[in-house]
């Protein structure tokens, strides 16, 4: 090969790099090792994490331990889906493009909005992207009104992006778990580009989006609603509540926890917003022989065509994760998806009763809940969590850091994997932990075998 190129050695090819900039030493990294050793090394690291197989997981806060059916892994691991690039050559990318089209249709059905994109990175950055869109769509308004019920990561990400493209943010507080309607109405005005709500909100409360949205409609601001896809089989969808944009974290649909990613963000809008949307959109068309086919539609919105005038900078997104969601939704199907929603609501209701009955535990708010609930503990939350962990239970998410006003708050998430038996075990663990903390009993460190295995029988 060197001869064909006309060089003596491949080093020669690197001579276009100025001598002074050529690295004169090997990288300070260990030498390569065999596949077996890499596997062993990473298995050893993985073994130092306590995952949802080794602990009963009531953690949620946007990502949930749902069961991912085996066909999802089997299909997304096929080379034909796993290894191609973004489908720039539609003739040989019909599989991926049609899957995107099916995904868009499913998500559009879930949110009851007419248009869905092929997806963004994840939930919070999708919220920030909605802000960017809102400025353009509102003809340059640069004020966002945001409910404190919106996921803290979403609020923080929106703030980060806003410092870039320039926008100010007004936050509206919560009253007994729900967005303060009066405060919201007061905050929205003619300069408001968008109003951001989340339902169920971060404290698990189901918001009355329709009512809250009135203020936005009145002042011509976009109504942006973040939602949990797993609740859309039972809760009134954003599209029926007057939302202009519905978006959210897609992980619950067919994606593993993966310590937070990769997952995907779904993003839906009204017809009016179609040509302003961020990211890829698959569209149906025909080939020269009249055969049905699919392509990346409306590319004139995108960076590779429009460059600085693009509606967004996104290029590589999360196609494979969206495919996983598509397969999971096909597997659940019309009936299964609704039943799953019902199951979550009922088990959550059971958990609410069961846990509120524990001495030292009360519900943090009285608002309706769907799949996650907020508790108030009469003992230091961190200490209680530690005691539960020692019994093999991740009892939930401590609200204190992000909601100082709820320093005693605990967020408990329910999935179809959390059996009644496990919920009862949580109640017991919480009760014991709180009692112990009040009585300052020494922490019992003997038995920390996972209870999942017993639960399995």
């Amino acid at each position: 090969m060197l001869a064909a190129i006309g060089v003596e050695s491949s080093e020669e090819l690197f001579e276009q790099i100025p001598e002074s900039l050529r690295l004169a030493r090997p990288l300070a990294l260990p030498p390569g090792i065999s596949e077996a050793e890499v596997h062993e090394r990473l298995a050893a690291l993985a073994a130092r994490n306590v995952d949802a197989e080794r602990q009963v997981c009531f953690l949620g806060a946007g990502m949930y331990d749902h069961y991912v059916p085996a066909i999802v892994d089997a299909i997304v691991q096929r080379s034909e889906f796993l290894t191609p690039y973004t489908p720039y050559q539609p003739e040989i990318s019909q599989g991926g493009l049609q899957a995107m089209f099916e995904f868009q249709t499913m998500i559009s059905e879930l949110t009851a909005l007419p248009v869905a994109t092929a997806g963004l990175y994840e939930g919070p950055s999708s919220v920030a992207s909605a802000g960017y869109l809102a400025i353009a769509a509102s003809g340059g308004r640069r004020r966002f009104v945001v409910s404190r019920g919106l996921h803290p990561h979403s609020r923080e990400t929106l703030a980060t992006y806003s410092r870039g493209f320039g926008a100010e943010i007004a936050e509206v507080g919560l009253e007994d778990g729900l967005t303060d309607a009066t405060a919201l109405a007061a905050a929205v005005g003619g300069g408001t580009a968008a109003v951001f709500l989340q339902s169920p909100n971060f404290l698990g409360a189901v918001e009355d989006v329709e009512a809250l949205g009135a203020a936005a409609r009145q002042h011509g601001a976009l109504l942006v609603v973040a939602c949990d896809p797993m609740t859309l089989g039972v809760l009134k969808p954003p599209g029926e509540c007057g939302a202009d944009i519905a978006l959210g974290e897609g992980q619950p649909l067919g994606n593993r926890l993966d310590f937070g990613g990769p997952s995907f963000g779904f993003f839906c809008g009204s017809e009016a917003l179609l040509r302003k949307l961020p990211g890829r959109i698959a569209g149906e068309t025909d080939d020269v022989d009249g055969r049905r086919g699919f392509v990346l539609a409306l590319q004139t919105r995108e960076q590779h065509i429009r460059r600085e005038k693009a509606t967004h900078n996104i290029c590589t997104a999360q196609a494979l994760n969206a495919l996983a969601a598509t397969i999971h939704l096909a597997w659940l199907g019309r009936g299964g998806f609704r039943e799953l929603g019902e199951l979550l609501v009922r088990r959550t209701a059971y958990a609410g009763e069961r846990l509120a009955a524990v001495a030292g535990v009360e519900l943090l708010h009285g608002a309706p809940v769907a799949r996650e609930l907020a508790l108030r503990l009469d003992a230091p939350v961190e200490a209680v969590l530690e005691r539960c962990a020692e019994r093999g239970i991740a009892a939930g998410y401590a609200l204190g850091r992000e909601y100082p006003e709820h320093g005693d708050g605990l967020l408990v998430a329910i999935t179809e994997r959390r059996s009644r038996e496990q919920i009862d075990a949580l109640a017991e663990a919480l009760g014991a932990a709180i009692a112990a903390e009040r009585g300052r009993l020494p922490v019992d460190t003997t038995d920390n075998r996972p209870v999942t295995q017993e639960a399995g029988r």
């Binding site: 690295l23 306590v50 919070p124 809760l235």
Partner: protein, 502 residues
């Protein structure tokens, strides 16, 4: 039904919704195990959904068949050569999928107490350290979800950096060869893009740059080697210019595959670098993601890195403790939920462990060797005649040809050549980019391709050009053997159908 139509062409596209039959389903759900009152008793009726979403109703066997069939309508890296310039379509080791799927990674909740996620946090820390060494910069944030996200992060860091010094600047410079995400990110970060010309050697036109650099320039974004596959020999001078004017220097790391272990952005004077783990570090592209776009930065940028940051605390007896640091007063804040695309980090770290220091350097060396060999092969015969290289120098990991003479002399455009390649079982190169080069073909073979494959590709191009000399229509009408033939993209944009009507 003879073979006159390729089998798949006979199979008309049918969506999962069109396979739906009322009452069918795959899922069996666990029993409720708890009281089952009507939902109205738990949630006010006005907040409930009346009609369920019209998801398809299909049994598992047909779901599996549907998506397996769909998959065969894709061309993929495990089927053949994929020289898509700027995308680094290198082999994706299956080992990485295996280790990413270990329950300790795959079922670890992102809000797990760091005490019970030490393995994951240590892995992230080790990856940060490795990428820092590879980039020649001291600090790394893994948070950005892809390259463009890394670019935005870099520009927000730049803004915070200037603001911290009480400055507000408005312009960001980038060469006319830059990737579309660069200008798009500039706008998104609230800056104004200013284009810098390219000189006859394919590098930044230093005079033009000098003319445009001033106190209002916040940053210069460069790719090096650039999108022509050429290393900018003036990089030191360029860096000096920008730094003298008080700007930051941003390195778009999409082309890092050319220089791993050979040259480091930090040593070139860059302040901020993004890496595409889904390019240089073998994360599969998944048909458009997921990826990850970690950023490496210099000391002066470090205070502004996103929150939270993975840190190593020198614990006591129990050894070091890995933690998430949220207390970063000057941070630009979060760019996304939780800690980033961890699953991608696992794959990238497995890749780095597998290759090691020598392996990474060898990978880049082979990538450059393969590119120059293919460039040489394509300088012969008809390709040499009709498809000249845009800038005649040794290239790095990729190179750009111009289809302009081909179009003039043979009457087939770069697009026609690309489509005809599909019939030969090859994925075409990146086409019509960079914009600077007319009828551009951007070819990146990567290090994981065998010489036979490069030769076969060169021969296919030769054949297509020979064919075009006889009858250009063949290429103009191509492809013929793909599941569908040329698609009407105009219609898809004029009258967009972006979901199935139900």
């Amino acid at each position: 039904m003879t073979a006159s139509e390729a089998p798949m062409q006979r199979e008309p596209a049918q969506t999962i919704f069109e396979r739906s039959k009322p009452g069918r389903r795959a899922a069996v759900l666990p029993a409720a195990e708890v009281p089952e009152p009507p939902l109205e008793e738990l949630i006010p009726a006005r907040l409930l959904r009346t009609a369920p979403p019209r998801l398809p109703e299909v049994a598992e066997p047909e779901i599996v068949r549907h998506y397996n069939r769909l998959s065969r309508r894709n061309f993929d890296l495990d089927s053949g050569f994929y020289p898509l310039g700027s995308c680094t379509m290198k082999h994706n080791p299956r080992l990485n999928e295996r280790v990413a799927a270990l329950p300790g990674h795959a079922r670890l909740h992102p809000a797990q107490d760091p005490v019970r996620a030490q393995g994951a946090l240590e892995l992230m820390y080790l990856l940060q350290e490795s990428l820092a060494e590879i980039c020649g910069l001291p600090h790394v944030s893994l948070q950005p979800s892809a390259g463009s996200h890394g670019e935005l992060a870099g520009l927000l860091l730049t803004r915070a950096f200037h603001a911290d010094r009480g400055e507000e600047r408005h312009k960001v410079l980038a060469p006319d060869t830059s990737h579309g995400t660069n200008p798009a990110s500039v706008t998104m970060a609230g800056y104004e893009i200013v284009k810098v010309a390219t000189d006859e050697r394919g590098g930044v036109a230093v005079d033009d740059l000098r003319a445009k650099v001033d106190e209002d320039v916040a940053c210069l974004m460069l790719t090096n080697p650039n999108t022509l596959g050429l290393f900018d020999e003036n990089i030191a001078e360029i860096a000096a210019l920008i730094h003298a004017a008080g700007g930051t220097l941003y390195y778009d790391g999409a082309n890092l595959n050319a220089v791993m272990g050979h040259s480091r952005p930090g040593d070139m004077g860059f302040d901020i670098v993004h890496l595409n783990l889904h390019k240089s570090f073998s994360q599969p592209h998944g048909g458009g993601g997921p990826g990850a776009g970690p950023i490496a930065v210099s000391e002066r940028i470090e205070p502004f890195l996103p929150r939270p940051q993975v840190v190593r605390r020198e614990g006591g007896s129990s050894g070091p403790f890995f933690d998430l640091d949220h207390e970063r007063p000057k941070s630009i804040g979060r760019l996304r939920g939780f800690q980033g695309n961890f699953g991608v980090f696992v794959r990238a770290y497995a890749y780095i462990l597998s290759l090691g220091a020598d392996g990474l350097a060898e990978a880049s060396e082979t990538a450059v060797l393969n590119a120059n060999y293919l460039k040489a092969r394509l300088a012969e015969g008809r390709a040499g005649k009709h498809l000249p290289v845009a800038f005649e120098r040794h290239c790095m990991h990729e190179f750009v040809l111009s289809g302009k003479p081909m179009k003039r002399e043979l009457g087939i455009a770069t697009l026609d050549l690309a489509k005809r390649l599909l019939d030969f079982g090859f994925h075409p190169p990146t086409v019509y980019f960079p914009l600077l080069v007319e009828e551009a073909l951007m070819i990146e073979p990567t290090e994981t391709e065998a010489k036979e494959t490069l030769d076969a590709f060169a021969e296919a191009i030769e054949q297509i050009l020979a064919e075009a000399e006889q009858d250009p229509e063949i290429a103009r009408q191509a492809p013929y053997t793909t599941p569908v033939r040329r698609l009407d993209e105009v219609k898809a944009t004029r009258k967009p159908v972006v979901r199935q009507p139900l």
